[in-house]
């Protein structure tokens, strides 16, 4: 299986070669990783040490100083049989796209070599897959995979739009994205899909079924939030009395945080709407904690899940809604690697890229379109890019745009910590006091 370290590495390439692939989300780092990496290192980076299977291929992007060193450590100490460095550009000019297309071609060649070396493992090397990237069969597979992933991404984007309407909780959205990620890796597609080529239609259908079930439960077609009647009822609900102990009681299960109607007073109160931004949410727990604290999460600008799926690869000849594609692109004749490079490099910018003002503008748009009243920024401890990103956003959105923001630093498991919850509740109290929240109810 190919495990990638960055949402800028297209899963389409390994998948089109018949190799299961997913974005790597490991458990908390092992204590032993401090023998090879400093203590003051990003926990996501440290988690890459010794938590994968020996036959996995680790595709590491040079996302940040920490991940570059993780690549070195993995190679030097032989912690992984196969480690590949994907030189993802930090810019997205047309030259950068051309460069990245070349990098992706090399990545595909490498994966073919690795796959063929591991040919004894039948689940990895399936007959019917191309052995050369110039093979028209490979192009067809890559195109088909990219189109399928585009469809999946569109489905997920529909679900993300329902966030904050009380239909879908942030925790649910993260869980669904994680499940889709797992299914692409062929891990949890279910018994009936075992032995299928990955990515088989079945796997994609399984992903779609999960997304659709959530969207359907949320209130029908879910194409827009207008169709979400359930949600509208749910959104106006917070029991003022119950609120008293929010966060101090046992955590409730995912999805229950959308609120309830107050039986005592009949007063209906809306929850404060917050966006979440992060370099990388380490786990879904933080989102759950925010919702348990009484906040409504309206977007999650993080690798997990928005930036992993909230975009579309243009120029694949499908009926995608990309308006700026050329006629040639529309016919699907453009080089698929170039399309992938373009799609991935120009997806919503993450803090690791040199997006400059584009990143700030992206957040401003997210805040405006979601109606977020505040922004919760999660920084994995010692993640420098998160620290810089927060300070830039704090100045651009917080101080000049008057958007309340809070920084929550954490490690694996700290989403549940009392300190995190205290901050979240204090932030909620602040938003309520600040926007004369009572008037809404």
């Amino acid at each position: 299986m190919v495990l990638t370290s960055c949402s800028y590495i297209p899963l389409e390439i390994p998948l089109a070669l018949g190799i299961p692939a997913k974005r790597a989300f490991f458990e908390a780092p092992l204590a032993s990783c401090e023998a090879c990496l400093p203590r003051d290192f990003c926990p996501y980076a440290k988690a890459f040490i010794r938590q994968h299977s020996p036959e996995d291929v680790l595709a590491i992007a040079g996302s940040c100083d920490a991940m570059r060193r993780v690549y070195d450590v993995l190679r030097h100490f032989g912690y992984a049989r196969e480690v590949y460095f994907v030189d993802v550009p930090r810019t997205s000019s047309s030259d950068a796209v051309t460069f990245y297309a070349g990098i992706l071609r090399e990545f595909a060649r490498y994966l073919i070599r690795v796959r063929d070396d591991m040919h004894t493992c039948s689940s990895v090397c399936s007959p019917g897959y191309a052995t050369d990237i110039r093979d028209p069969l490979f192009r067809d597979h890559l195109l088909a995979t990219a189109r399928s992933l585009n469809s999946l991404r569109m489905e997920l984007a529909r679900m993300f739009k329902l966030l904050g309407d009380g239909c879908v909780s942030g925790r649910e959205a993260v869980d669904v994205a994680l499940r889709v990620n797992e299914i692409l890796a062929g891990e949890t597609a279910g018994e009936e899909h075992k032995g299928q080529l990955v990515p088989g239609e079945e796997a994609f259908r399984a992903c779609q079924a999960i997304i659709e079930s959530v969207v359907f439960r949320a209130g029908g077609s879910g194409r827009t939030s207008e169709g979400c009647e359930n949600g509208k009822a749910l959104e106006e609900s917070q029991d003022e009395c119950d609120e008293a102990h929010v966060g101090d009681k046992q955590f409730r299960s995912a999805g229950s945080a959308t609120g309830r109607k107050c039986p005592g007073t009949g007063v209906l109160r809306r929850r404060a709407r917050v966006g979440v931004s992060a370099t990388c949410l380490l786990e879904p727990m933080l989102v759950e904690s925010l919702e348990e604290a009484g906040l409504s999460v309206v977007f999650i600008d993080s690798c997990l899940p928005f930036r992993m799926f909230n975009f579309s690869v243009p120029g694949l000849g499908t009926c995608d809604s990309s308006s700026n594609r050329s006629d040639e692109d529309a016919r699907g004749n453009a080089d698929v690697f170039s399309s992938l490079a373009l799609g991935y490099l120009r997806k919503p910018p993450c803090p690791r890229v040199f997006a400059g003002y584009a990143r700030i503008e992206h957040l401003k748009r997210l805040v405006a379109s979601s109606g977020a009243q505040g922004l919760v920024y999660f920084a994995p401890k010692f993640c420098d890019l998160a620290y810089y990103d927060f300070a830039e956003l704090k100045q651009a959105l917080g101080e000049t745009g008057n958007l309340p923001m809070i920084l929550i630093e954490g490690e694996y498991g700290s989403g549940r910590a009392g300190q995190t919850l205290t901050r979240a509740i204090a932030f909620k109290e602040m938003l309520e006091g600040r926007s004369s929240f009572g008037e809404i109810g």
């Binding site: 070195d72 460069f99 400059g356 620290y387």
Partner: protein, 408 residues
Amino acid sequence: MLLRQKWAYAAASAALPFLSRLGWKEYQVAAVRCFMQDFAEAYLGRKPCIFTSAFVPTELVYGLGAVPFLPEAAGGLAASFGLAEASLSACESLWYSPDLCSFHRSGLGAFALGLAPKPSAVIVSSHLCDGGKRTLFDISRRANCPFYILDVPYVYSDGAARWLAGQIESVARALVREVPGTSLRNMTRAIENSNDALAEYQSVCRLRRNVPAPWRGSEALNYVVLFLWSWGSPWLPAFYRCLRNHLQAVVGAKKFPVPEERCRLLWLNLRPYYETRVFRYLEDECQASVAFEEYSFPYWPRFDAQDPFMSLARKMMSNFGWGPATQRLAAIDRMVDEYRASGVIQFAQRGCRQSNGAAAILSDVLRRKGIPFLNLDGDGVDARNASEAQTLTRLGAFLELLERKKGG
């Protein structure tokens, strides 16, 4: 502020000759003179001042007829002038985490306090670390000036070098369009200046291989600022010539700063730039010589003046701190051999993930080579993050280890 006063430069120029009488060496006076010239151009607005991150080739800036300013290096300077507390505090008030590298925080804080000149533009590169480019982006935002990015590919290939060369040329041409007072007329001259300086500097490096070392490492580490800041300047060849002459004289007269070298060290990363006992302890009390420093290593090939942009691209891509750690390890291995180091110390600058992240690999590789390695936790600018007592204890123990090893 003094640096913005014309009379201050006039007064300082007049005072320069007296420095020699106070015991200053010729190269030291030359360095002050050179920096003063550039600072005058920048602070008095005589030339466009272009801010860059630490490893953007300054030949590009001099080649455009501008003067460079490196906020990260200036962060170190602020510490040496006792201004770190104020600059770090200013940075913290801008919501930057104290867990970030203090060179960047101090540079940003110094800018926020108005201690830096006004930038005409900002150029950053993706190498070597994340902090520099983000610090400079903030500065460009505050100064409302053009911001340019050089995206350095991680692994060398001809195609990668061509892409980078294209970026450098585009940035140069954009600057000429955007920043009054810049032109490409000086580019060849800057490239030639850099080549001349490199030739002189290589002689300096050869002299530094002498046992005992002819130059204090503690002082050489101060000149890293100049090493980062001045390539392409018209005065750098003369400065290195001056330094070469000085070192030749030291070797000739056998008047070495650490005459009885108990051990020779290779120093990785930077040093504390505030007042500290560390080097007095090392060089004077323990007679341990810092023979060479990683950041003084001339890693790039001579430039082709006919192809300046490709030359600069090759310089950037040949930086051994960028790319897989194997490159840095190879360079360190070479430095250990060339400078006959018996031990290696990495100053583990707090928050410097790119360097500290390789400590375990360095330790492993050097152990196999039979060279003891010390990862010395510290902070080059923010004294609050360091404990001098602990630093000296660790250094002492490391030197004892080296002694034991020497004694067999």
